[in-house]
Amino acid sequence: MSRLLDDRPFAPRDDVAFLREMTELTQWHRAHCPEYVRIWPVESEPKSTADLPFLHVGLFKRLLLQTRAEGIVHQRTLLSSSTTGNQPSRISLDERSSALQARSSLAILTEMVGPERRPLLVLDDARNLRQRGEVSARIAAAMALRPLACETHFLLDESAGRARTRWESLADVLTRFDDLLVYGLTFLLWTAWAKAGMPDEIRKQLAGKRVHFVHSGGWKKLESLQVQQAELERELLAGLDPRSGVVDFYGLVEQIGVVFPLCSAGARHVPRWADVVVRDPWTLAPLHNEPGLLQLMNVLAFGAPYHSILTEDQGQLLPHETCPCGRPGKRFQLLSRLPQSETRGCANV
C-alpha cells in the first residue's frame, strides 16, 4: 500500500518517494507482464519521472494487458466509452489496485466537494451497471463518488431508446434532503438536467438546496452546441444555495483512481501519488513551458501496467508555484485532444 496516500492529495509532494514507488512498480510489471517487458526490454535506472517508461493509451484498445502475480486477483474489465467504429479501451481491474483507486478518488473528490455523506444522483441508467464482467467508464466515474453517498439514485431512463430524466426520483430525494451530489457526463448535465424541462414544482423544491455537481467527459459535445463552461455553471447553479458548486474533472479509464479536478483558478492539480509529464510527440522530449502530449502516472496500478500512460490529450505544465486557489504542488492546463487528420487510403481502416 503506497504511503503517499496517507497524506491529503494536494499536500506538499514527496517526489523522491514517488519516483521510488514508480520505479518499483515498473519493475513489478516488467517481471510479471510479458507484453510489457517485450515493449520495454531494457531496464534502466530513472533519475526523474520523465525517465519512466510508459504505454501509449491506444494500446489498451488493442490488447487486454494483465500483470499476473501472486496476490493479484483480476476481477472485472473496465471499458471506456467508444464512438461508433472505435474499439473501447479495456482495463483489467484487480482487488489490490481497486482498493487503492477507491481510496485515491475519494480523497481527491472529498477535497472538492467536502466529506459529508449525502444522496448521490447519477445521470445515467441503472441498467448500465448490469454488464457481467465489465463496467463502463461512466459508471465507474459515478461509483467513485459512492463513498460520499448515503443513498444512490440513477436518474436516467433509457428504456425507450431515448434518455428521459426521472424527475419523480429527484422529487422524492428533495423532500428528504437539503444537500445533494449530482454526477453526470458534461453534456448530460446540460441535456438531461439543465435543459431537460425540469417541472416547475421540482424547480421550486430545488431552490435553496445545496448541490454539488460533478462532471467529466469533456466539452466536445457542448462546444458543438456552443455552450461554454460559464453558461453551464450559471444554468446549473441558478436558484441554489450559494455554497453549491460545479466540479469538472479530467480522468481516463487508463488512469482509474486519479482524477484531475479543475480548480477555481482554472488549473488541474496533480495529487501527490500521481505525476504528469508533457512530451513532444515527435521526439518524446519532456516539455516544461510548451504544450505537448500528457503522460500521466500514478502508483495505484498493480494488475496491469497502466501506471504510466502516454495520452493523446494535449496539455501544458503551469509554473511550479502555489496556485491562486491555494493548493501547492504540480498543476497543468488541459488543452485539447490531439487533432486527427483524415487517413488517405482505400483499405478497410
Binding site: H56, G58, V349
Partner: protein, 393 residues
C-alpha cells in the same frame, strides 16, 4: 456533340470506336491543361498527388486504354471492321471517403469514353474531384474537353443514406463503386436497370516482394516512397515487404536501410496524431513479438518479424518479413490485390504460374504499385464502359 468514328487495328481486324468528340482534340486539351498544371499546385492537392496526376495525363498514357482495348490507332481506310464500340451511357461513380485521388483519375479515364458521368463524393471525405474541375474548367478554353466537362460531368457530395444514391443507381448504365465490400453490396442492392453493369472495387491489400539480391538503397527508397504515400491504408500500398528466399538478416538489412533513408523520403514531420499513433503501433508490434523500431521523429514504424505473425495496425506501420516462396504464397491474404516486385527475373515463367494459381490482381514493379489503369482488380473495367457491336460485312 456529333459522334465521330475512330479506327483501331488489332490482330483480329479493325475496330471502330464511336465517340462524341475528336479523341485527339480531347487528349490535346488534357495535355494543354497538363502544361498549366506544371506551373501551379492547388492547395487541395499534395505535391505527390499533383505529380502523379501530371504523369497520368501524359498523351501517351491517355492513348494507352484504347490501345489495350482496341489496338493501335489506324489511319488507313481499308480492311473490314469486326467490331464497333460505342459509349454505354451514364456512368455513376461512388467514390470512397478516403482515396481522394481516385476521383480525378476516374474522371480522366471516363472522359476518354465520352460517357456522361455522375460522381458521388463521400460526405465526410476530402474531395479532390471538384478542386480538380475548378482548376481545369477556366484553363481549358472552348475545346471538346471543356464542353464535355461542362455538359456531361456532375459531381455531388452526400451521405450513404441520401435518396440521390437510389437516383444515381436507377439511371446508370454502368455503376462503379469504390469502397468497402459492404459499400459495394449496398450500392448493388439499390434499384438499377436490368442491363446496367456493376464494377465493384472493394477491400484489398497489397504486398512488396523483394529478392535479397535486389536489395539496394535505390530499391529501399522506392519501397519507402511507395509506402509513404498512403501508409498501409491504401489498397495498393504494401502492408508487408516480403524478402523472398531471404533470411532474418536480409530482412534486418532492408529494415536498417529503410531506417536510415526514411528522413530523405519523408523530410517533413507527420502530423502530431500520426506521430502519436506510431508510438502506439511500435509498442503494439513489440507486444506481439515484432522487432519494431520508430523512424526519426516518429514518421513510421518498421516491424521485423516472421511470416504468418499477426500484423498490427497504425497509420504508418510497414512489416518486413523473410519468407520462402512457398511461405509467401501460403500466407497471401484472400483479398490480395497488388504484388509490387523487385525480383531478379520478374518475367520468369514461375511467376506467371504463381499468378495463375493465386488471387493476385496485379503484378507490377515496385514503383508502379499505385498506377491506376483501365484494368483494375482483375477487371478490364474501362472497356466495359463501351457497348460492343459485332460487325460482319
Amino acid at each position: 456533340m456529333s459522334d465521330r468514328l475512330h479506327f483501331f487495328r488489332c490482330e483480329t481486324g479493325r475496330c471502330a470506336v464511336s465517340l462524341p468528340f475528336s479523341l485527339d482534340g480531347v487528349i490535346d486539351d488534357w495535355d494543354r491543361l497538363r502544361r498549366a498544371m506544371i506551373r501551379e499546385l492547388p492547395p487541395a492537392f499534395s505535391r505527390d498527388e499533383w505529380a502523379y496526376l501530371l504523369s497520368f495525363l501524359a498523351p501517351e498514357q491517355l492513348r494507352l486504354p484504347f490501345q489495350q482495348a482496341f489496338g493501335v490507332a489506324d489511319a488507313t481506310t481499308t480492311g473490314a471492321v469486326r467490331l464497333l464500340a460505342r459509349p454505354r451511357g451514364l456512368v455513376s461513380v461512388w467514390l470512397p471517403g478516403n482515396v481522394n485521388l481516385l476521383g480525378p483519375l476516374t474522371l480522366i479515364l471516363v472522359s476518354l469514353t465520352g460517357n456522361p458521368l455522375r460522381m458521388k463524393v463521400g460526405a465526410r471525405g476530402q474531395d479532390l474531384v471538384r478542386p480538380f474541375l475548378d482548376f481545369a474548367r477556366p484553363r481549358l478554353g472552348d475545346g471538346p474537353l471543356a464542353r464535355y466537362l461542362a455538359e456531361q460531368v456532375h459531381v455531388e457530395q452526400f451521405g450513404r443514406d441520401d435518396a440521390r444514391n437510389r437516383d444515381m443507381s436507377e439511371q446508370a448504365h454502368v455503376r462503379i463503386v469504390f469502397g468497402t465490400d459492404e459499400a459495394v453490396k449496398a450500392v448493388d442492392a439499390l434499384p438499377h436497370r436490368g442491363d446496367s453493369s456493376l464494377v465493384g472495387f472493394g477491400n484489398h491489400q497489397s504486398q512488396a516482394w523483394i529478392e535479397p539480391a535486389c536489395v539496394t538503397d535505390d530499391v529501399a527508397m522506392l519501397l519507402a516512397r511507395v509506402f509513404a504515400i498512403y501508409g498501409p491504408a491504401g489498397c495498393t500500398s504494401p502492408r508487408i515487404a516480403v524478402l523472398i528466399g531471404g533470411t532474418t538478416d536480409d530482412a534486418r538489412d532492408l529494415r536498417d536501410r529503410l531506417l536510415s533513408l526514411w528522413p530523405k523520403v519523408m523530410p517533413r514531420d507527420v502530423i502530431g496524431h500520426v506521430a502519436s499513433q506510431n508510438i502506439m503501433a511500435r509498442q503494439w508490434a513489440a507486444a506481439l513479438g515484432w522487432d519494431a523500431v520508430l523512424t526519426r521523429r516518429h514518421a513510421a514504424v518498421l516491424a521485423l518479424g516472421k511470416t504468418g505473425q499477426e500484423i498490427v495496425g497504425g497509420p504508418m506501420t510497414l512489416h518486413i518479413e523473410p519468407a520462402s516462396f512457398d511461405e509467401a504464397v501460403q500466407h497471401l491474404p484472400a483479398n490480395i490485390q497488388t504484388i509490387g516486385h523487385a525480383l531478379v527475373n520478374a518475367g520468369d515463367r514461375s511467376w506467371m504460374e504463381l499468378l495463375a494459381r493465386t488471387a493476385i490482381k496485379r503484378f507490377v514493379p515496385l514503383g508502379q504499385m499505385h498506377f491506376f489503369g483501365p484494368v483494375w482488380d482483375g477487371m478490364g473495367f474501362w472497356r466495359q464502359l463501351f457497348e460492343e457491336v459485332e460487325v460482319r460485312p
